[in-house]
Amino acid sequence: MQTLLKFTSEQQLRLRIFVLLVFMSTVAISMLVYRNATMDSREYRFLVFNLNLAWMPLILSTIIYASQSLPKPLNLLIALGGALLWLFFLPNAPYMLTDFENLLKNNDAPIWYDVLMIAWFAWTALLVGIYSIYQMQELVTTYFGTVTGWLFTSSIIILSSLGVYLGRFLRWYSWDILRRPEKIVTNVFEHLASPQNQRNFFLYIGLLSLLSLTVYVTFFLFGQLVNANKKDTTPK
């Protein structure tokens, strides 16, 4: 009975995060709709498409997480297939941070409004991605332990930064990995033939991975701090 009670409080918190993220997405899209309606503009509509893509990894990781209560062979199958698909779509979440570079070409609305709007989209996508990685890390930790969990997260973040690079500079989409994987590979090798591109490739992936890992670990530690304080103040 007690475990059941604890479980529902956890489910409740998960639901609350989900609702918060949906709400943040709604506000972000409303800001864009308001902007384009009042300014009679058609700019930035790709942000909505990108935000939809950013939600994909969270939807997939939630399905994987929920499927773990299914009977044995089924849950493993869903976990393995789902995890691969999840990995392909994960880069869409941090990708939205790079949409800041579009600030260059647009001036239909005051710049401060566009900064705030893109910040809103980017942060929502970032939180969606972090929460999704956390869900997967929880699963890996349950099956293989804490150290493997962190190894998993670090490698996922590096792979995801690679994905952002492929999307931003070579214009590939997640689903191209399923449709024409061989073309991506040849394209990457051609691209890396130039030493200039090589340098950018490693610099970009290195910097973005380090940044993402810092962001993730800070979130994790802040969570632990809130957690420690809660235990400290709960009446004994």
């Binding site: 475990t3 604890k6 479980f7 409080s9 956890e10 918190l13 998960r14 609350r16 995060i17 918060l20 993220l21 943040m24 506000v27 800001m31 941070l97 790079t98 800041f100 570079e101 600030l103 260059l104 005051p110 401060w112 409004y113 900064v115 705030l116 893109i118 910040a119 942060w123 939180l127 929460y131 956390y134 929880e138 930790t141 349950t142 931003r168 950018n200 970009y204 910097l207 973005l208 380090l210 940044l211 810092t214 962001v215 670990v217 800070t218 979130f219 994790f220 530690l221 802040f222 969570g223 632990q224 701090l225 809130v226 957690n227 420690a228 304080n229 809660k230 235990k231 400290d232 103040t233």
Partner: protein, 239 residues
């Protein structure tokens, strides 16, 4: 003794967060230094100054938090003194986010993607310094006045801080003008509070930024509680 022992984990996380934010700040400055060095340009060097300003509220909140354990009179003096300084400097933390607007004027020396990563790094540091310092202060308020007062405090402070950001970004006032130039600053602020609708830009900016910051804050907060719940759950499962 038992009290000392239970204090330990949260002190540990506080210190680790401090070290992590410090390392992250050093990294972002290194990214900027590499930019300045390779392009031989002084552009964006103001970010270092803005980042230093963003650290002040974090340090003040820490002082306030630690001094709550001092004897009564000393505690009241130190806590309220650092709380006031914290409030005055808090807008500097999320302020760095508005520096993204410089991206609209790129220079040919450095590729845009590099500046985007650099600005995200600085902006992230500022935002998190603000969020964590607000959390320290919320804890103090919760301990003294209860949970509801704590959340009212968070909402009010966020709104004030967003207005402070506006005043800094558009009217070009600094935190220390409260002491150096109090009267013109006060008339600027009062005018906007008394006639909010004759300043639509102030109103829109403040409201949008308040909601933005509150949502980030609440999401991080709920995330912390979830970690708590799921850890207890997995401990139960494995035992």
């Amino acid at each position: 003794m038992a009290n000392l022992f239970t204090m330990k984990p949260d002190e540990k996380y506080r210190l680790t967060l401090f070290l992590l934010l410090a390392a992250s700040s050093v990294m972002s400055i290194a990214v900027l230094a590499a930019r300045a060095f390779t392009s031989e340009s002084y552009r964006y060097l103001f970010l270092v100054w803005n980042l230093i300003l963003a650290w002040i509220p974090f340090l003040m909140a820490w002082v306030a938090y630690v001094s709550t354990r001092l004897p009564k009179i000393l505690m009241l003096l130190l806590t309220s003194g650092s709380a006031i300084l914290w409030l005055l400097f808090l807008p500097n933390a999320p302020y760095i986010l508005t520096d993204f607007q410089h991206l609209a004027h790129p220079d040919a020396l450095v590729p845009v993607w590099y500046d985007v990563i650099m600005l995200i790094w600085f902006g992230w540091n500022g935002l998190l310094l603000g969020i964590i310092s607000l959390y320290f202060m919320q804890e103090i308020v919760v301990r003294m006045l209860g949970t509801i007062a704590g959340w009212i405090f968070v909402t009010l402070v966020t709104a004030m801080s967003s207005l402070g950001m506006y005043i800094g970004r558009f009217l070009r006032w600094n935190s220390w003008d409260v002491v150096g130039n109090p009267l013109p600053l006060a008339s600027d602020i009062l005018d906007r509070i008394i006639h909010p609708f004759s300043h639509p830009r102030t109103l829109t900016f403040t409201i949008l930024f308040t909601i933005f910051f509150l949502f980030l804050y609440v999401t991080l907060y709920v995330f912390g509680h979830l970690m708590n719940a799921s850890q207890e759950h997995s401990i139960k499962r494995s035992s």
